[in-house]
């Protein structure tokens, strides 16, 4: 029902984009390289901080238009981790609702 695949592996973010949000310049991942594949993100869902003990982890929920990706940026180790991919292509879509892109 919820096509989520847990990955939990370090990935490379090779391109970023910047946006002025609430009077602060903020940085978001744009392109990710994972297992030899390149994923271009088209939209940022939600960015929120979370704590792992005293470590600050920034969670980025991103989409490339076909699947949702959860990325975590460890502000101490400066590393990116791909937590899961939720591929909704095969998930059911209600008849009277707009289909996914």
């Amino acid at each position: 029902m919820n096509q989520t695949t847990l990955i939990n592996k370090d990935v490379n973010i090779v391109a970023y984009y910047f946006k002025n949000n609430a009077r602060r310049l903020r940085c978001f991942p744009k392109r990710m390289e994972y297992e030899g594949k390149r994923v271009d993100f088209t939209e940022t869902g939600l960015v929120h901080p979370t704590k792992q003990g005293q470590r600050m982890i920034h969670v980025f929920d991103m989409t490339d238009g076909t699947a949702d990706y959860r990325l975590e940026f460890d502000a101490q180790a400066l590393s990116w981790k791909l937590v899961y991919i939720a591929d909704m292509r095969h998930a059911p879509v209600s008849g009277r609702l707009a289909p996914a892109a």
Partner: protein, 425 residues
């Protein structure tokens, strides 16, 4: 003289509205749809645990359109809406949205009250001359815009504006989703004329039956009922007087309540769990209760344990002690004293531990007993480690493994432990 006699002919409050009630629509589901764009436009349910007996804690508007309601079990919801997508709650996301909403609200008035994780009140009384000179409806639309900019484009909220909190909440529920309504003394009667008694917050089946017994069948009749009838015949308490004032736009809901109990409950992950497993879950609940108790700077003198059996029977026991306690081993020892007395009426399906008779913490007070000091130092050391590396990094052996089953969830009602609960390991 009783209060209701003084208010026999209280008029409608004709002051300009000063209260804004902000309510996020289907909060958890909307935040999930904001975070995962591929879920937008799909029927979505959010649950605390992905099992068929777990209930829907939030449903998206698409799911609600198919008949899914909050409180249904997953299997019931799936029958109504076979395409329903269920996902587990993710507290840090809601915590972030809550913080952003609070930040926005606080920029309009220092007097804000968060009623729960998804709704809050801005009282602009006293700020109209300086910061909030614009009409409140304009400010309301600005709040909606800022929420979309600061959290995300999918976020929607209802805003109600009225002279008191009750009418502001009523106004916020008139046009879901994304509504903005104002109730004043001028449109109060016309607004209530289009509502049912159970549409009013605080009036469910029982109160409706009480009102019906006194010949009150509509909100307008409720509004027109004399204070004496409400106090003496309907509610038979001061509640009737409160309702009389509340419906007329006078403030009665601004009372603040102190923390009376701190505890935790858990619906068993295994309905056929052995006694050993139940004790393991109990130990974890005690650990969690101790964490909350110390976080709030309290110690307790009383403890209660509640058990619900598979047969439908329930058992409850409570005990007050002369000495206060706050360390996990102390809580567990006292909880076990009660737990050991429980009648074996079948398998346990729900377990709850709570501490009461709360007092300011005595953690700084050295004891003359060496054993007590050792326990205090051990607790302090464990708390420090757990704060640095995340909750439940170091735990007592009795609760080993339970933290994997008892996941920390944010309840709808309280926002008191957000920072504590979001510190994952």
């Amino acid at each position: 003289m009783p209060r209701y006699q003084a208010d026999l002919h209280l008029p409608l409050n004709d002051e300009a509205p000063q209260i804004l009630h902000i309510d996020l629509n289907s909060c958890f589901a909307t935040v999930e749809q904001q975070a995962r764009p591929m879920l937008r436009g799909r029927p979505l349910g959010v649950t605390n645990r992905l099992t068929k007996n777990a209930c829907v804690v939030a449903a998206s508007y698409e799911a609600k359109a198919e008949g899914v309601k909050v409180g249904m079990t997953f299997s019931e919801a799936k029958l109504l809406c076979p395409d329903l997508i269920m996902i587990e709650t993710d507290p840090p996301k809601y915590h972030h949205v809550y913080k952003e909403l609070t930040k926005i609200m606080r920029s309009y008035s220092p007097n804000i009250v968060m009623k729960s994780i998804d709704e809050g009140i801005i009282d602009v009384y006293g700020t109209r001359e300086s910061v909030n000179q614009r009409p409140l409806a304009v400010i309301g639309h600005e709040i909606k815009q800022r929420l979309r900019e600061q959290v995300g484009c999918w976020m929607k909220c209802n805003i109600g504006i009225a002279p008191n909190r009750f009418l502001a909440k009523t106004a916020a529920s008139l046009h879901k989703p994304d509504g903005l309504d104002i109730i004043t003394h001028k449109n109060l009667r016309s607004t209530l004329a289009n509502m049912e008694l159970t549409d009013l917050t605080g009036i469910a089946e029982r109160n409706q039956a009480r009102l019906n017994a006194a010949g009150i069948y509509t909100p307008l009749q409720f509004l027109d009922a004399p204070a004496q009838v409400l106090s003496r015949r309907v509610f038979k308490s001061v509640c009737g007087d409160d309702w009389y004032r509340r419906l007329r736009g006078w403030e009665v809901d601004d009372a603040e309540f102190s923390t009376k109990t701190i505890g935790r409950q858990f619906v068993m992950d295994d309905y056929n769990a052995s006694e050993e497993k139940v004790r393991n879950r109990l130990a974890h609940l005690c650990e969690s209760t101790g964490l909350k108790l110390r976080y709030k700077g309290f110690c307790a003198r009383g403890i209660s344990v509640y058990i619900l059996y598979k047969t439908g029977d329930a058992w409850h026991s409570r005990k007050a002690f002369k000495s206060s306690f706050y360390t996990t081993p102390e809580i567990l020892r006292r909880a076990l004293l009660l737990f050991n007395q429980h009648p074996r009426l079948g398998n346990v399906v729900m377990l709850s531990v709570s501490c009461y008779l709360l007092e300011p913490s005595t953690a700084n007070q050295m004891s003359i007993l060496e054993e007590v000091n050792k326990e205090r130092l051990l607790t302090e050391a464990m708390d420090e480690l757990n704060e640095r590396y995340g909750n439940y990094t170091v735990i007592f052996a009795g609760s080993l493994g339970a933290d994997k089953q008892i996941k920390q969830k944010i309840p709808f009602g309280t926002t008191r432990y957000f920072e504590l609960l979001c510190n994952r390991a």
